[in-house]
């Protein structure tokens, strides 16, 4: 380790938390894989027949290879074991549509989705927390009402519809924003160009979560501000601003961070729909394409890898949580 001798007890605790979470992730992933396996076997007709028919594979050698890959002739438990074994080696099968291994097809599309997820969560968090704080400081004023009306609106609007409406207004009518895609075709590209394309999808996906965070943050702020330690802070002469920022805000953030962790899967799933609206070249577009072409291996691969992303994101959120609230030791 660069830096030296002193690994603080906080860092140690964080490492222990990390180890514990990683161990807990194993049965979770196994569960995801088993569910996947069950889904495959619930499919009407043989999985193999469907797959070969949909992809117009008639070459007997290929079919034999597929039979072997998916172990169609083995007993069920052995098939499951083989499936788990293959996944452990990151063998998700082959996608004929993209003519490459499923894993590769997914990882090509992953960065775009992660970018959209991160930008949407950042927007949701910033806007939601800010709005919630304003509403709680100006409780029962016009500002409070404004925030709750906006939150109600964005909490009820389907994200894909919001996206389309934003395209109509900002891209078609006003011409300020691109209609879709991730970069201008034939243009110079560059970071600014991508950011320009990122704005509308981020708003469409993020505002729903901003609405949730605003509501939670508001009630959490109001609750924390009535606790004893806040009264103590006021009594010892700190200004209202110091108390709000240093004492109330930090503690009030905890429930928001908890929700953030729980919703990682939802955000990933939400990006699927948004990507299809904005032709954003991420995993969602791949999924949509694979769903329409009944490309099962890719769909199942996305389900497994998506769960993996969610687990990783949850661990990250746990670490943030620990950093925010030193009282939390690993249980």
């Amino acid at each position: 380790m660069a830096g030296g001798l002193a690994v603080s007890s906080r860092q140690l605790a964080a490492l222990r938390l990390l180890r514990r979470r990683l161990i807990q992730a194993v049965p979770l992933m196994l569960g995801v894989v088993v569910i996947n396996f069950v889904l495959i076997h619930l499919a009407p007709g043989s999985f193999l027949e469907l797959m070969t028919a949909e992809n117009q594979v008639s070459d007997p050698a290929t079919v034999a290879l597929l039979r072997k890959t998916y172990g169609m002739d083995d007993p069920l438990w052995l098939q499951l074991a083989k499936y788990v074994w293959a996944l452990l080696h990151f063998d998700f099968g082959f996608s004929y549509r993209q003519n490459m291994p499923v894993l590769q097809a997914i990882t090509i599309h992953l960065p775009a989705t992660l970018l959209l997820m991160v930008s949407s969560i950042t927007l949701a968090f910033a806007v939601g927390v800010a709005a919630g704080v304003v509403a709680s400081i100006k409780v029962r004023t016009v500002w409070d009402t404004l925030v709750s009306v906006a939150a109600m609106f964005f909490f009820a609007a389907p994200s894909f519809w919001l996206g389309i409406m934003m395209i109509v207004l900002f891209a078609v009518k006003l011409g300020w924003m691109p209609v879709g895609g991730m970069a201008t075709i034939g243009g110079g590209g560059g970071v600014l160009d991508i950011l320009h394309h990122l704005i509308l999808p981020t708003l469409a996906l993020g505002l729903f979560y901003a609405a949730i965070y605003a509501r939670v943050m508001r009630s959490s702020m109001l609750e924390v501000s009535q606790l004893d330690f806040v009264r103590t802070a006021r009594a010892k002469g700190l200004s209202r601003r110091q108390v709000t920022v240093g004492h109330v805000l930090r503690n009030a953030l905890l429930p928001v961070v908890t929700i953030l962790g729980v919703q990682m899967g939802t955000v990933l799933a939400g990006s699927v729909v948004i990507e299809s609206v904005f032709s954003w070249p991420g995993v969602g577009s791949l999924l949509f394409d694979s769903v329409s072409s009944r490309n099962y291996p890719v769909v199942l691969g996305i389900l497994v890898l998506g769960s993996l992303v969610v687990i990783a994101a949850n661990i990250a959120v746990d670490l943030v949580y620990m950093w925010l609230d030193p009282r939390i030791e690993i249980r």
Partner: protein, 278 residues
């Protein structure tokens, strides 16, 4: 008691408005065959009539010349039913899992909560799409799939209630009388645990409607049913010339979901007076 509930519910003005609107939508859904007895997917006029252009079609017509208002009225039926059924599926699974976990505790609790964690980990909409893709786009599969991804909050809530109630004196009294576990769970604890669960279920209806609209929008809805989400998807190609085709069903979804959320808030106020003003 009942009067008290109604009084507290209607003191929340938002909830009252929500309830009235939802009642209206439900009435519309029930009376749809009377208001528009013919097939709503029938072509009736020239295509892409803007709302207000022809008084016979107040919300205009779509790209094929179908009456948008007729499709909205009939779509209300599909959308509401799917929301209600999916929420029922989620509530049945959630209450079942939560009650068993909370009442028995120990390894049963451990397994149930791990299962809940598992279903929270899998990206929900992707899971729904996969189920519908593999098992087929029928109304039944969509409803079950949405229920399967929506039960976890209900299970957690039920479990917490059962944990709080299972060692209370009235339950101990029942045990001392020799009552069986099944009767205690269903007859004694469950009625006491229900109020917060009802609030959550009403919110799940709203969530289920949003789910279904996304599934239909992506083209995986039941082909025999014109739900509002599908109407948004159908109108998507024409946003440059006739964006209202897309906008109108979306507004319908939004108003319905908004009103269901308002009802949920009102139920929360009425059923959990302790939590008021939170």
């Amino acid at each position: 008691m009942k009067f008290d509930f109604l009084g507290r519910f209607s003191r929340n003005r938002g909830a009252l408005v929500g309830a009235v609107v939802i009642l209206g939508v439900a009435l519309l859904a029930i009376l749809a065959p009377l208001v528009y007895p013919t097939d709503p997917l029938r072509i009736v006029a020239q295509p892409e009539l803007w709302p207000g252009e022809d008084p016979a079609y107040p919300l205009g017509t779509d790209s094929l010349g179908r009456d948008i208002l007729a499709m909205i009225v009939h779509g209300a039926r599909a959308t509401l039913l799917i929301g209600l059924f999916a929420s029922s599926v989620a509530t049945i699974i959630g209450v079942g899992m939560g009650a068993t976990a909370g009442y028995f505790g120990g390894w049963i609790d451990e397994i149930a909560m791990r299962a809940a964690e598992l279903f929270q980990t899998i990206p929900n909409l992707i899971f729904v799409l996969t189920i519908v893709l593999i098992l087929g786009s029928t109304l039944q599969n969509i409803v079950i799939a949405i229920g399967i991804v929506s039960w976890t909050p209900i299970a957690r809530m039920t479990r917490a209630e059962f944990l709080a109630l299972r060692d209370r004196e009235f339950v101990q009294a029942c045990r001392a009388m020799g009552m069986g576990n099944g009767r205690i769970i269903l007859g004694e604890i469950l009625p006491n645990a229900l109020p917060p669960v009802i609030v959550l279920s009403s919110l799940v209806v709203a969530g289920a409607i949003l789910f279904e609209s996304a599934v239909s929008f992506l083209g995986l809805g039941d082909p025999n049913i014109a739900s509002w989400g599908r109407l948004v998807g159908d109108g998507r190609q024409l946003i440059r010339s006739s964006w209202y085709i897309c906008a109108i069903p979306g507004v319908a979804i939004m108003i319905t979901v908004l009103c269901l959320n308002l009802i949920g808030d009102g139920l929360n106020d009425a059923l959990n007076p302790k939590l008021r003003d939170r």
